[in-house]
Symmetry: C2
Subunit: 66 residues, 2 copies
Protein backbone atom coordinates (compact mmCIF):
# COMPACT_ATOMS: atom_id res chain seq x y z
CA UNK A 1 0.00 0.00 0.00
CA UNK A 2 1.08 3.57 -0.52
CA UNK A 3 -0.10 6.76 1.11
CA UNK A 4 0.94 10.41 1.13
CA UNK A 5 0.71 12.00 4.56
CA UNK A 6 0.73 15.79 4.71
CA UNK A 7 2.93 16.97 7.59
CA UNK A 8 3.29 20.45 9.03
CA UNK A 9 6.31 21.87 10.83
CA UNK A 10 9.26 20.15 9.19
CA UNK A 11 11.80 22.89 8.58
CA UNK A 12 15.15 21.25 7.97
CA UNK A 13 17.02 18.08 7.21
CA UNK A 14 17.01 17.13 10.89
CA UNK A 15 13.22 17.30 10.91
CA UNK A 16 13.11 15.12 7.82
CA UNK A 17 15.36 12.56 9.50
CA UNK A 18 13.27 12.59 12.68
CA UNK A 19 10.07 11.86 10.76
CA UNK A 20 11.68 9.26 8.51
CA UNK A 21 13.26 7.49 11.48
CA UNK A 22 10.01 7.39 13.42
CA UNK A 23 8.07 6.00 10.46
CA UNK A 24 10.70 3.39 9.68
CA UNK A 25 10.28 2.08 13.23
CA UNK A 26 6.61 1.28 12.59
CA UNK A 27 6.42 -2.44 11.79
CA UNK A 28 5.30 -2.92 8.21
CA UNK A 29 6.66 0.35 6.85
CA UNK A 30 8.79 -0.41 3.80
CA UNK A 31 9.95 2.97 2.58
CA UNK A 32 9.52 6.65 3.38
CA UNK A 33 10.07 9.60 1.09
CA UNK A 34 9.91 13.15 2.44
CA UNK A 35 9.47 16.31 0.38
CA UNK A 36 10.61 18.96 2.82
CA UNK A 37 9.42 21.90 0.70
CA UNK A 38 5.81 20.72 0.54
CA UNK A 39 5.62 18.60 3.70
CA UNK A 40 4.44 15.60 1.68
CA UNK A 41 5.54 12.30 3.22
CA UNK A 42 5.07 9.30 0.95
CA UNK A 43 4.98 5.97 2.74
CA UNK A 44 4.97 2.46 1.32
CA UNK A 45 3.70 -0.06 3.86
CA UNK A 46 2.05 -3.39 4.42
CA UNK A 47 0.40 -5.15 7.35
CA UNK A 48 0.56 -4.71 10.29
CA UNK A 49 1.27 -0.97 9.80
CA UNK A 50 -1.79 1.28 10.04
CA UNK A 51 -2.24 4.91 9.09
CA UNK A 52 -3.14 5.64 12.71
CA UNK A 53 0.21 4.29 13.91
CA UNK A 54 2.03 6.35 11.30
CA UNK A 55 0.20 9.52 12.29
CA UNK A 56 1.07 8.86 15.93
CA UNK A 57 4.73 8.29 15.10
CA UNK A 58 4.86 11.65 13.31
CA UNK A 59 3.01 13.50 16.07
CA UNK A 60 5.27 11.95 18.72
CA UNK A 61 8.15 13.73 17.00
CA UNK A 62 6.36 17.05 17.43
CA UNK A 63 4.89 17.53 13.96
CA UNK A 64 1.28 17.91 12.91
CA UNK A 65 -0.51 15.72 10.41
CA UNK A 66 -2.84 17.90 8.37
CA UNK B 1 35.57 35.10 27.72
CA UNK B 2 32.20 35.55 26.18
CA UNK B 3 31.18 36.09 22.58
CA UNK B 4 27.97 36.23 20.61
CA UNK B 5 28.20 34.52 17.23
CA UNK B 6 25.51 35.32 14.68
CA UNK B 7 24.42 32.15 12.90
CA UNK B 8 22.24 31.79 9.83
CA UNK B 9 20.10 28.81 8.90
CA UNK B 10 18.99 27.39 12.23
CA UNK B 11 15.30 26.66 11.82
CA UNK B 12 14.27 24.29 14.59
CA UNK B 13 15.17 22.65 17.86
CA UNK B 14 17.21 20.02 16.05
CA UNK B 15 19.35 22.75 14.48
CA UNK B 16 19.84 24.33 17.87
CA UNK B 17 20.96 20.99 19.30
CA UNK B 18 23.35 20.38 16.40
CA UNK B 19 25.07 23.75 16.90
CA UNK B 20 25.15 23.44 20.69
CA UNK B 21 26.57 19.94 20.48
CA UNK B 22 29.29 20.93 18.04
CA UNK B 23 30.36 23.93 20.12
CA UNK B 24 30.40 21.93 23.34
CA UNK B 25 32.89 19.57 21.71
CA UNK B 26 35.39 22.39 21.22
CA UNK B 27 37.88 22.15 24.09
CA UNK B 28 37.57 25.18 26.32
CA UNK B 29 33.92 25.93 25.61
CA UNK B 30 32.10 26.26 28.91
CA UNK B 31 28.54 27.07 27.97
CA UNK B 32 26.44 27.74 24.89
CA UNK B 33 23.15 29.57 24.70
CA UNK B 34 21.18 29.67 21.45
CA UNK B 35 18.40 32.11 20.57
CA UNK B 36 16.71 30.33 17.70
CA UNK B 37 14.54 33.31 16.72
CA UNK B 38 17.46 35.67 16.21
CA UNK B 39 20.24 33.20 15.43
CA UNK B 40 22.36 34.63 18.24
CA UNK B 41 24.66 32.04 19.80
CA UNK B 42 26.25 33.13 23.04
CA UNK B 43 29.36 31.20 24.00
CA UNK B 44 31.39 31.30 27.20
CA UNK B 45 34.86 29.91 26.67
CA UNK B 46 38.45 29.89 27.83
CA UNK B 47 41.74 28.70 26.41
CA UNK B 48 42.43 26.75 24.29
CA UNK B 49 39.14 27.48 22.45
CA UNK B 50 39.40 30.04 19.66
CA UNK B 51 36.72 31.87 17.72
CA UNK B 52 38.03 30.29 14.55
CA UNK B 53 37.46 26.80 15.93
CA UNK B 54 33.96 27.73 17.00
CA UNK B 55 33.12 29.14 13.58
CA UNK B 56 34.42 25.97 11.98
CA UNK B 57 32.37 23.79 14.31
CA UNK B 58 29.22 25.68 13.35
CA UNK B 59 29.98 25.63 9.63
CA UNK B 60 30.72 21.90 9.78
CA UNK B 61 27.11 21.43 10.88
CA UNK B 62 25.95 23.21 7.74
CA UNK B 63 25.20 26.67 9.14
CA UNK B 64 26.66 30.00 8.17
CA UNK B 65 28.39 32.40 10.53
CA UNK B 66 27.45 35.95 9.55
Amino acid sequence: MEKTIQVQGMTCGHCEKAVKGALNEVEGVQSVDVDLATGAVNVSYEDPATLEQMHEAIEDQGYDVV
